[in-house]
Protein backbone atom coordinates (compact mmCIF):
# COMPACT_ATOMS: atom_id res chain seq x y z
CA UNK A 1 0.00 0.00 0.00
CA UNK A 2 2.87 2.29 0.88
CA UNK A 3 4.70 1.81 -2.41
CA UNK A 4 1.45 2.62 -4.15
CA UNK A 5 1.41 6.09 -2.56
CA UNK A 6 5.08 6.65 -3.34
CA UNK A 7 4.63 5.72 -6.99
CA UNK A 8 1.47 7.85 -7.15
CA UNK A 9 3.33 10.92 -5.84
CA UNK A 10 6.15 10.52 -8.41
CA UNK A 11 3.80 9.87 -11.33
CA UNK A 12 1.44 12.68 -10.36
CA UNK A 13 4.28 15.19 -9.93
CA UNK A 14 6.31 14.53 -13.05
CA UNK A 15 3.29 13.56 -15.14
CA UNK A 16 1.62 16.86 -14.25
CA UNK A 17 4.74 18.85 -15.08
CA UNK A 18 5.16 17.02 -18.41
CA UNK A 19 1.57 17.79 -19.41
CA UNK A 20 1.89 21.47 -18.52
CA UNK A 21 5.17 21.75 -20.43
CA UNK A 22 3.55 20.17 -23.50
CA UNK A 23 0.63 22.64 -23.31
CA UNK A 24 3.01 25.56 -22.99
CA UNK A 25 5.14 24.43 -25.90
CA UNK A 26 2.11 23.90 -28.11
CA UNK A 27 0.82 27.39 -27.31
CA UNK A 28 4.27 28.85 -28.00
CA UNK A 29 4.44 27.10 -31.36
CA UNK A 30 0.94 28.25 -32.36
CA UNK A 31 1.71 31.83 -31.36
CA UNK A 32 5.03 31.97 -33.13
CA UNK A 33 3.35 30.79 -36.32
CA UNK A 34 1.14 33.84 -36.26
CA UNK A 35 3.85 36.47 -36.14
CA UNK A 36 7.27 37.31 -37.66
CA UNK A 37 10.38 36.22 -35.72
CA UNK A 38 11.74 39.70 -34.98
CA UNK A 39 9.32 39.82 -32.04
CA UNK A 40 11.54 37.28 -30.29
CA UNK A 41 14.45 39.32 -28.92
CA UNK A 42 15.92 36.17 -27.46
CA UNK A 43 16.51 34.45 -30.83
CA UNK B 1 -8.36 69.15 0.94
CA UNK B 2 -6.36 67.21 3.50
CA UNK B 3 -6.68 63.43 3.49
CA UNK B 4 -8.22 63.55 6.96
CA UNK B 5 -10.95 65.98 5.87
CA UNK B 6 -11.71 63.80 2.87
CA UNK B 7 -11.81 60.72 5.11
CA UNK B 8 -14.46 62.36 7.29
CA UNK B 9 -16.37 63.56 4.25
CA UNK B 10 -16.41 60.15 2.54
CA UNK B 11 -17.18 58.27 5.77
CA UNK B 12 -20.06 60.62 6.56
CA UNK B 13 -21.37 60.25 3.02
CA UNK B 14 -21.23 56.44 3.15
CA UNK B 15 -22.91 56.28 6.55
CA UNK B 16 -25.62 58.75 5.52
CA UNK B 17 -26.35 56.66 2.43
CA UNK B 18 -26.53 53.58 4.65
CA UNK B 19 -28.87 55.30 7.11
CA UNK B 20 -31.04 56.41 4.21
CA UNK B 21 -31.15 53.09 2.39
CA UNK B 22 -30.81 50.80 5.47
CA UNK B 23 -29.45 47.92 3.41
CA UNK B 24 -27.59 46.71 6.50
CA UNK B 25 -30.77 46.32 8.54
CA UNK B 26 -33.11 45.22 5.78
CA UNK B 27 -30.87 42.78 3.92
CA UNK B 28 -27.57 42.02 5.61
CA UNK B 29 -28.82 41.46 9.15
CA UNK B 30 -31.58 38.99 8.17
CA UNK B 31 -28.96 37.12 6.11
CA UNK B 32 -26.60 36.94 9.09
CA UNK B 33 -29.39 35.95 11.48
CA UNK B 34 -30.54 33.15 9.18
CA UNK B 35 -26.94 31.95 8.89
CA UNK B 36 -26.73 31.69 12.69
CA UNK B 37 -29.98 29.78 12.87
CA UNK B 38 -28.76 27.40 10.19
CA UNK B 39 -25.55 26.89 12.20
CA UNK B 40 -27.73 25.91 15.15
CA UNK B 41 -29.63 23.39 13.01
CA UNK B 42 -26.37 21.96 11.71
CA UNK B 43 -24.69 21.63 15.10
CA UNK B 44 -27.74 20.53 17.01
CA UNK B 45 -26.28 19.94 20.53
CA UNK B 46 -26.68 22.85 22.94
CA UNK B 47 -23.43 22.48 24.89
CA UNK B 48 -21.52 22.31 21.61
CA UNK B 49 -23.24 25.50 20.44
CA UNK B 50 -22.08 27.47 23.47
CA UNK B 51 -18.54 26.24 22.88
CA UNK B 52 -18.41 27.27 19.20
CA UNK B 53 -20.65 30.36 19.43
CA UNK B 54 -17.72 32.83 19.00
CA UNK B 55 -16.59 31.08 15.81
CA UNK B 56 -20.11 31.12 14.43
CA UNK B 57 -20.61 34.82 15.16
CA UNK B 58 -17.37 35.74 13.42
CA UNK B 59 -18.12 33.42 10.46
CA UNK B 60 -21.55 35.05 10.06
CA UNK B 61 -19.79 38.44 10.23
CA UNK B 62 -17.30 37.48 7.51
CA UNK B 63 -19.93 36.28 5.08
CA UNK B 64 -22.08 39.34 5.76
CA UNK B 65 -19.00 41.52 5.21
CA UNK B 66 -18.81 40.34 1.59
CA UNK B 67 -22.33 41.69 1.02
CA UNK B 68 -21.60 44.99 2.80
CA UNK B 69 -18.37 45.54 0.81
CA UNK B 70 -20.11 44.87 -2.48
CA UNK B 71 -22.88 47.26 -1.46
CA UNK B 72 -20.32 49.90 -0.44
CA UNK B 73 -18.86 49.97 -3.95
CA UNK B 74 -22.16 49.41 -5.75
CA UNK B 75 -23.19 52.76 -4.28
CA UNK B 76 -20.15 54.33 -5.93
CA UNK B 77 -20.47 52.61 -9.28
CA UNK B 78 -24.26 52.99 -9.35
CA UNK B 79 -24.49 56.34 -11.03
CA UNK B 80 -20.87 56.74 -12.06
CA UNK B 81 -19.97 58.23 -8.69
CA UNK B 82 -16.64 56.40 -8.51
CA UNK B 83 -15.59 58.07 -11.76
CA UNK B 84 -16.90 61.35 -10.40
CA UNK B 85 -14.88 60.86 -7.19
CA UNK B 86 -11.76 60.29 -9.26
CA UNK B 87 -12.53 63.22 -11.52
CA UNK B 88 -12.97 65.40 -8.44
CA UNK B 89 -9.32 64.67 -7.73
CA UNK B 90 -10.19 63.36 -4.26
CA UNK B 91 -6.98 61.84 -2.80
CA UNK B 92 -7.11 58.02 -2.88
CA UNK B 93 -6.00 57.74 0.79
CA UNK B 94 -8.97 59.84 1.79
CA UNK B 95 -11.41 57.61 -0.09
CA UNK B 96 -9.70 54.47 1.30
CA UNK B 97 -9.80 55.47 4.97
CA UNK B 98 -13.23 57.07 4.59
CA UNK B 99 -14.88 53.99 3.13
CA UNK B 100 -12.94 51.71 5.51
CA UNK B 101 -14.21 53.70 8.50
CA UNK B 102 -17.81 53.55 7.25
CA UNK B 103 -17.43 49.82 6.64
CA UNK B 104 -15.95 49.28 10.12
CA UNK B 105 -18.85 51.13 11.76
CA UNK B 106 -21.38 49.02 9.87
CA UNK B 107 -19.52 45.84 10.86
CA UNK B 108 -19.52 46.91 14.51
CA UNK B 109 -23.28 47.43 14.40
CA UNK B 110 -23.64 44.03 12.77
CA UNK B 111 -21.40 42.34 15.35
CA UNK B 112 -23.31 43.86 18.25
CA UNK B 113 -26.57 42.50 16.88
CA UNK B 114 -25.03 39.10 16.17
CA UNK B 115 -23.59 38.84 19.67
CA UNK B 116 -27.05 39.66 21.01
CA UNK B 117 -28.42 36.88 18.80
CA UNK B 118 -25.73 34.52 20.12
CA UNK B 119 -26.72 35.51 23.66
CA UNK B 120 -30.29 34.43 22.85
CA UNK B 121 -29.83 31.54 20.41
CA UNK B 122 -26.69 29.95 21.79
CA UNK B 123 -27.17 31.11 25.41
CA UNK B 124 -23.64 32.46 25.52
CA UNK B 125 -22.78 34.11 28.84
CA UNK B 126 -19.94 36.47 29.82
CA UNK B 127 -18.84 38.18 33.05
CA UNK B 128 -17.62 41.76 33.62
CA UNK B 129 -13.95 41.43 32.70
CA UNK B 130 -14.83 39.56 29.52
CA UNK B 131 -16.93 42.45 28.21
CA UNK B 132 -13.92 44.76 27.96
CA UNK B 133 -11.90 42.16 26.05
CA UNK B 134 -14.89 41.43 23.81
CA UNK B 135 -15.39 45.07 22.87
CA UNK B 136 -11.68 45.72 22.21
CA UNK B 137 -11.28 42.64 20.05
CA UNK B 138 -14.46 43.52 18.08
CA UNK B 139 -13.12 47.05 17.52
CA UNK B 140 -9.70 45.86 16.36
CA UNK B 141 -11.16 43.15 14.13
CA UNK B 142 -13.69 45.54 12.58
CA UNK B 143 -10.93 48.04 11.74
CA UNK B 144 -8.88 45.29 10.09
CA UNK B 145 -11.88 43.96 8.17
CA UNK B 146 -12.94 47.47 7.14
CA UNK B 147 -9.50 48.24 5.70
CA UNK B 148 -9.05 44.91 3.91
CA UNK B 149 -12.66 44.90 2.68
CA UNK B 150 -12.26 48.35 1.14
CA UNK B 151 -8.90 47.47 -0.42
CA UNK B 152 -10.05 44.34 -2.25
CA UNK B 153 -13.56 45.75 -2.75
CA UNK B 154 -12.01 48.65 -4.67
CA UNK B 155 -9.93 46.25 -6.77
CA UNK B 156 -12.89 44.12 -7.74
CA UNK B 157 -15.32 46.95 -8.44
CA UNK B 158 -16.22 48.11 -11.91
CA UNK B 159 -17.34 46.19 -14.94
CA UNK B 160 -16.26 42.95 -16.58
CA UNK B 161 -17.56 40.62 -13.91
CA UNK B 162 -14.82 41.43 -11.42
CA UNK B 163 -17.17 41.13 -8.47
CA UNK B 164 -16.93 37.33 -8.41
CA UNK B 165 -13.24 37.78 -7.54
CA UNK B 166 -14.03 39.38 -4.17
CA UNK B 167 -14.56 36.17 -2.14
CA UNK B 168 -11.50 34.48 -3.71
CA UNK B 169 -9.29 37.45 -2.85
CA UNK B 170 -10.81 38.51 0.44
CA UNK B 171 -11.61 35.32 2.39
CA UNK B 172 -8.01 33.98 2.56
CA UNK B 173 -6.76 37.40 3.58
CA UNK B 174 -9.12 37.69 6.54
CA UNK B 175 -8.11 34.27 7.94
CA UNK B 176 -5.92 35.84 10.67
CA UNK B 177 -8.81 38.06 11.74
CA UNK B 178 -11.17 35.08 11.90
CA UNK B 179 -8.68 33.12 14.04
CA UNK B 180 -7.70 36.08 16.23
CA UNK B 181 -11.20 37.43 16.80
CA UNK B 182 -12.64 34.01 17.53
CA UNK B 183 -9.93 33.14 20.07
CA UNK B 184 -10.23 36.54 21.74
CA UNK B 185 -14.01 36.16 21.92
CA UNK B 186 -13.66 32.66 23.35
CA UNK B 187 -11.41 34.08 26.08
CA UNK B 188 -13.95 36.86 26.73
CA UNK B 189 -16.80 34.35 26.98
CA UNK B 190 -14.78 31.90 29.01
CA UNK B 191 -15.39 29.02 26.62
CA UNK B 192 -12.67 26.79 25.22
CA UNK B 193 -9.25 26.26 26.81
CA UNK B 194 -8.06 29.85 26.40
CA UNK B 195 -7.20 32.27 29.21
CA UNK B 196 -8.03 35.97 29.30
CA UNK B 197 -4.34 36.77 29.11
CA UNK B 198 -4.02 34.80 25.87
CA UNK B 199 -7.12 36.61 24.62
CA UNK B 200 -5.29 39.90 24.93
CA UNK B 201 -2.38 38.46 22.95
CA UNK B 202 -4.78 37.76 20.12
CA UNK B 203 -6.09 41.32 20.34
CA UNK B 204 -2.50 42.49 19.84
CA UNK B 205 -2.35 40.44 16.64
CA UNK B 206 -5.64 42.02 15.45
CA UNK B 207 -4.25 45.50 16.11
CA UNK B 208 -1.05 44.70 14.19
CA UNK B 209 -3.15 43.36 11.33
CA UNK B 210 -5.18 46.59 11.18
CA UNK B 211 -2.03 48.75 11.37
CA UNK B 212 -0.25 46.82 8.60
CA UNK B 213 -3.22 47.05 6.28
CA UNK B 214 -3.77 50.66 7.25
CA UNK B 215 -0.32 51.54 5.98
CA UNK B 216 0.02 49.00 3.12
CA UNK B 217 -3.55 49.53 1.97
CA UNK B 218 -3.39 53.30 1.83
CA UNK B 219 -0.34 53.04 -0.45
CA UNK B 220 -1.83 50.29 -2.61
CA UNK B 221 -5.43 51.54 -2.83
CA UNK B 222 -4.72 54.41 -5.26
CA UNK B 223 -2.98 52.36 -7.96
CA UNK B 224 -5.45 49.49 -7.49
CA UNK B 225 -8.59 51.58 -7.93
CA UNK B 226 -7.12 54.01 -10.37
CA UNK B 227 -6.71 51.68 -13.33
CA UNK B 228 -9.49 53.22 -15.31
CA UNK B 229 -9.68 50.27 -17.68
Amino acid sequence: METGFVILSYVATFGGIAILVAVMMRRARSMSARRPPEDQPWT
Amino acid sequence: MTSFAVTKLVAAKDLRIELRSRVLINQVLPFAAITMVLFAFALDQDDLLVRVAPGLVWLATLFSMLVVVQRSFAVEAGDGALDALRVAGVPAQGIYFGKAAALAVQLLVLETLLFAAAFVLYSSRFDGAGVFLLITSALAASCGLGLVGTLYGGLTTGTKGRESLLPLLLLPVVAPVLIGATRATEAALGVGRISMQEGWAWVALLVTYALLFGIGGSIGFGPLVDDTA
Partner: protein, 238 residues
Protein backbone atom coordinates in the same frame (compact mmCIF):
# COMPACT_ATOMS: atom_id res chain seq x y z
CA UNK C 1 12.04 19.75 -27.27
CA UNK C 2 13.08 22.87 -29.19
CA UNK C 3 10.38 25.39 -29.94
CA UNK C 4 10.11 29.08 -30.73
CA UNK C 5 11.01 30.06 -27.20
CA UNK C 6 14.10 27.83 -27.01
CA UNK C 7 17.63 29.11 -27.19
CA UNK C 8 20.97 27.46 -26.62
CA UNK C 9 20.66 28.33 -22.91
CA UNK C 10 17.25 26.76 -22.41
CA UNK C 11 18.27 23.69 -24.37
CA UNK C 12 21.32 23.26 -22.12
CA UNK C 13 19.26 23.68 -18.97
CA UNK C 14 16.58 21.40 -20.45
CA UNK C 15 19.05 18.59 -21.03
CA UNK C 16 20.58 19.07 -17.59
CA UNK C 17 17.09 18.92 -16.07
CA UNK C 18 16.22 15.67 -17.85
CA UNK C 19 19.52 14.05 -16.84
CA UNK C 20 18.98 15.28 -13.31
CA UNK C 21 15.45 13.92 -13.35
CA UNK C 22 16.57 10.42 -14.29
CA UNK C 23 19.30 10.60 -11.65
CA UNK C 24 16.77 11.82 -9.09
CA UNK C 25 14.20 9.08 -9.76
CA UNK C 26 16.96 6.46 -9.65
CA UNK C 27 18.09 7.65 -6.22
CA UNK C 28 14.67 8.58 -4.93
CA UNK C 29 12.99 5.28 -5.73
CA UNK C 30 15.70 2.66 -5.97
CA UNK C 31 19.22 3.46 -4.84
CA UNK C 32 18.44 5.10 -1.48
CA UNK C 33 17.43 2.78 1.40
CA UNK C 34 14.11 2.72 3.22
CA UNK C 35 13.95 4.85 6.32
CA UNK C 36 14.14 3.06 9.67
CA UNK C 37 11.00 4.76 10.95
CA UNK C 38 8.96 5.59 7.84
CA UNK C 39 10.13 2.78 5.57
CA UNK C 40 9.18 3.83 2.02
CA UNK C 41 7.33 6.97 3.05
CA UNK C 42 10.52 8.98 3.10
CA UNK C 43 10.75 8.73 -0.70
CA UNK C 44 7.79 11.10 -1.03
CA UNK C 45 9.74 13.65 0.97
CA UNK C 46 12.34 13.83 -1.78
CA UNK C 47 9.69 15.60 -3.88
CA UNK C 48 7.74 17.30 -1.08
CA UNK C 49 10.60 19.24 0.52
CA UNK C 50 12.31 20.59 -2.65
CA UNK C 51 9.02 21.60 -4.27
CA UNK C 52 8.06 23.49 -1.10
CA UNK C 53 11.38 25.37 -1.07
CA UNK C 54 11.14 26.15 -4.79
CA UNK C 55 7.56 27.39 -4.37
CA UNK C 56 8.71 29.82 -1.68
CA UNK C 57 11.60 30.89 -3.91
CA UNK C 58 9.17 31.45 -6.79
CA UNK C 59 6.99 33.73 -4.67
CA UNK C 60 10.02 35.66 -3.47
CA UNK C 61 11.03 36.19 -7.11
CA UNK C 62 7.48 37.37 -7.86
CA UNK C 63 7.56 39.83 -4.97
CA UNK C 64 11.02 41.18 -5.90
CA UNK C 65 10.17 41.60 -9.57
CA UNK C 66 6.87 43.27 -8.63
CA UNK C 67 8.79 45.75 -6.48
CA UNK C 68 11.24 46.24 -9.35
CA UNK C 69 8.38 47.02 -11.71
CA UNK C 70 6.82 49.52 -9.33
CA UNK C 71 10.11 51.37 -8.78
CA UNK C 72 10.29 54.11 -11.38
CA UNK C 73 13.89 53.58 -12.42
CA UNK C 74 13.67 49.86 -13.03
CA UNK C 75 10.17 49.86 -14.52
CA UNK C 76 9.84 47.52 -17.47
CA UNK C 77 7.22 44.99 -18.54
CA UNK C 78 9.87 42.26 -18.42
CA UNK C 79 9.74 42.49 -14.63
CA UNK C 80 5.99 42.13 -14.77
CA UNK C 81 6.15 39.09 -17.02
CA UNK C 82 8.85 37.55 -14.82
CA UNK C 83 6.61 38.08 -11.78
CA UNK C 84 3.72 36.42 -13.62
CA UNK C 85 5.76 33.49 -14.92
CA UNK C 86 7.38 32.88 -11.52
CA UNK C 87 3.99 33.00 -9.78
CA UNK C 88 2.55 30.45 -12.20
CA UNK C 89 5.45 28.05 -11.63
CA UNK C 90 5.21 28.80 -7.91
CA UNK C 91 1.55 27.80 -7.85
CA UNK C 92 2.41 24.61 -9.76
CA UNK C 93 5.13 23.71 -7.24
CA UNK C 94 2.89 24.67 -4.30
CA UNK C 95 0.22 22.35 -5.69
CA UNK C 96 2.79 19.56 -5.89
CA UNK C 97 3.89 20.34 -2.33
CA UNK C 98 0.33 20.07 -1.03
CA UNK C 99 -0.37 16.89 -2.99
CA UNK C 100 2.81 15.07 -1.96
CA UNK C 101 2.44 16.46 1.56
CA UNK C 102 -0.97 14.91 2.00
CA UNK C 103 0.17 11.61 0.46
CA UNK C 104 3.14 11.59 2.83
CA UNK C 105 0.83 12.39 5.76
CA UNK C 106 -1.38 9.50 4.74
CA UNK C 107 1.60 7.12 4.72
CA UNK C 108 3.18 8.38 7.94
CA UNK C 109 0.14 9.07 10.15
CA UNK C 110 -2.76 7.64 8.18
CA UNK C 111 -4.39 11.04 7.66
CA UNK C 112 -4.44 13.12 4.50
CA UNK C 113 -4.47 16.53 6.13
CA UNK C 114 -3.14 17.89 9.38
CA UNK C 115 -3.95 21.42 10.59
CA UNK C 116 -0.50 22.42 11.69
CA UNK C 117 1.00 25.83 11.01
CA UNK C 118 3.23 24.89 8.10
CA UNK C 119 0.62 23.00 6.08
CA UNK C 120 -2.02 25.66 6.70
CA UNK C 121 0.30 28.49 5.67
CA UNK C 122 1.18 26.55 2.51
CA UNK C 123 -2.50 26.12 1.67
CA UNK C 124 -3.06 29.82 2.35
CA UNK C 125 -0.23 30.78 -0.03
CA UNK C 126 -1.62 28.47 -2.72
CA UNK C 127 -5.05 30.18 -2.60
CA UNK C 128 -3.55 33.67 -2.34
CA UNK C 129 -1.44 33.24 -5.45
CA UNK C 130 -4.39 31.70 -7.30
CA UNK C 131 -6.06 35.02 -6.53
CA UNK C 132 -2.96 36.83 -7.82
CA UNK C 133 -3.13 34.92 -11.12
CA UNK C 134 -6.85 35.75 -11.37
CA UNK C 135 -6.02 39.45 -10.90
CA UNK C 136 -3.45 39.21 -13.69
CA UNK C 137 -6.19 38.18 -16.05
CA UNK C 138 -8.42 41.20 -15.40
CA UNK C 139 -7.69 42.92 -18.71
CA UNK C 140 -6.83 46.54 -19.46
CA UNK C 141 -3.54 47.64 -20.94
CA UNK C 142 -0.28 45.82 -20.16
CA UNK C 143 0.85 48.67 -17.91
CA UNK C 144 -2.41 48.57 -15.95
CA UNK C 145 -2.15 44.78 -15.59
CA UNK C 146 1.45 45.13 -14.45
CA UNK C 147 0.76 47.82 -11.87
CA UNK C 148 -2.31 46.09 -10.44
CA UNK C 149 -0.58 42.69 -10.22
CA UNK C 150 2.51 44.21 -8.62
CA UNK C 151 0.44 45.84 -5.87
CA UNK C 152 -1.47 42.60 -5.22
CA UNK C 153 1.80 40.62 -5.11
CA UNK C 154 3.30 42.98 -2.52
CA UNK C 155 0.08 42.87 -0.47
CA UNK C 156 0.37 39.06 -0.54
CA UNK C 157 3.86 39.39 0.96
CA UNK C 158 2.43 41.68 3.65
CA UNK C 159 -0.05 38.92 4.60
CA UNK C 160 2.44 36.07 4.93
CA UNK C 161 3.85 36.99 8.38
CA UNK C 162 0.34 37.78 9.65
CA UNK C 163 -1.00 34.42 8.54
CA UNK C 164 2.11 32.59 9.73
CA UNK C 165 1.94 34.01 13.26
CA UNK C 166 -1.79 33.63 13.65
CA UNK C 167 -1.61 30.02 12.44
CA UNK C 168 1.55 29.32 14.47
CA UNK C 169 -0.17 30.41 17.72
CA UNK C 170 -3.28 28.59 16.70
CA UNK C 171 -1.76 25.16 15.98
CA UNK C 172 1.96 24.82 16.75
CA UNK C 173 3.98 22.44 14.58
CA UNK C 174 3.39 18.75 15.19
CA UNK C 175 6.37 17.26 16.95
CA UNK C 176 6.57 14.02 14.95
CA UNK C 177 6.94 15.76 11.60
CA UNK C 178 9.95 17.80 12.56
CA UNK C 179 11.70 14.82 14.22
CA UNK C 180 11.16 12.53 11.24
CA UNK C 181 12.81 14.94 8.85
CA UNK C 182 15.71 15.68 11.14
CA UNK C 183 17.00 12.09 11.09
CA UNK C 184 17.80 11.73 7.38
CA UNK C 185 21.42 10.89 6.67
CA UNK C 186 23.78 9.55 4.02
CA UNK C 187 22.05 8.36 0.85
CA UNK C 188 18.68 9.70 1.89
CA UNK C 189 20.04 13.17 2.48
CA UNK C 190 21.82 12.93 -0.88
CA UNK C 191 18.56 12.07 -2.64
CA UNK C 192 16.98 15.11 -1.04
CA UNK C 193 19.92 17.20 -2.26
CA UNK C 194 19.54 15.86 -5.80
CA UNK C 195 15.86 16.73 -5.56
CA UNK C 196 16.65 20.35 -4.72
CA UNK C 197 19.02 20.63 -7.69
CA UNK C 198 16.57 19.08 -10.13
CA UNK C 199 13.68 21.21 -8.98
CA UNK C 200 15.78 24.37 -9.18
CA UNK C 201 16.82 23.55 -12.75
CA UNK C 202 13.18 22.76 -13.54
CA UNK C 203 12.07 26.08 -12.02
CA UNK C 204 14.60 28.09 -14.05
CA UNK C 205 13.75 26.27 -17.27
CA UNK C 206 9.99 26.67 -16.77
CA UNK C 207 10.21 30.35 -15.88
CA UNK C 208 12.48 31.18 -18.83
CA UNK C 209 10.11 29.53 -21.27
CA UNK C 210 6.93 30.80 -19.63
CA UNK C 211 8.29 34.36 -19.53
CA UNK C 212 9.04 34.22 -23.26
CA UNK C 213 5.58 32.88 -24.04
CA UNK C 214 4.13 35.85 -22.10
CA UNK C 215 6.44 38.19 -24.01
CA UNK C 216 5.22 36.75 -27.30
CA UNK C 217 1.64 37.15 -26.11
CA UNK C 218 2.27 40.82 -25.27
CA UNK C 219 4.00 41.38 -28.60
CA UNK C 220 1.01 39.79 -30.32
CA UNK C 221 -1.34 42.15 -28.45
CA UNK C 222 0.79 45.18 -29.38
CA UNK C 223 0.89 44.06 -33.02
CA UNK C 224 -2.87 43.63 -32.94
CA UNK C 225 -3.16 47.13 -31.48
CA UNK C 226 -0.91 48.63 -34.20
CA UNK C 227 -3.05 46.96 -36.81
CA UNK C 228 -6.26 48.19 -35.12
CA UNK C 229 -4.90 51.76 -34.91
CA UNK C 230 -3.91 51.73 -38.60
CA UNK C 231 -7.32 50.33 -39.48
CA UNK C 232 -9.01 52.95 -37.31
CA UNK C 233 -7.05 55.79 -38.89
CA UNK C 234 -8.01 54.40 -42.27
CA UNK C 235 -11.64 54.46 -41.22
CA UNK C 236 -11.49 58.22 -40.72
CA UNK C 237 -10.37 58.98 -44.24
CA UNK C 238 -13.33 57.20 -45.88
Amino acid sequence: MSGPTSTRATRAIGIATIVGLIWFVAFGLFLSPDDAVQRKGVRILYIHVPSAWLAYLAFIVTAVSSAAYLWKRTRSLTWDRLAGASAEVGVLFMGITLLTGSLWGRVSWGVYWVWDSRVTTTAFLFVTYLGYLAVRGLGGSHEQRARRSAVVALLAVLEIPLVHFSVEWWRPLHQQESIAKGKLQNLMLFSLFVGVIVFTLLYVWLVMHRQRVLAMQDALDDRGLEFAIAERRQEASL
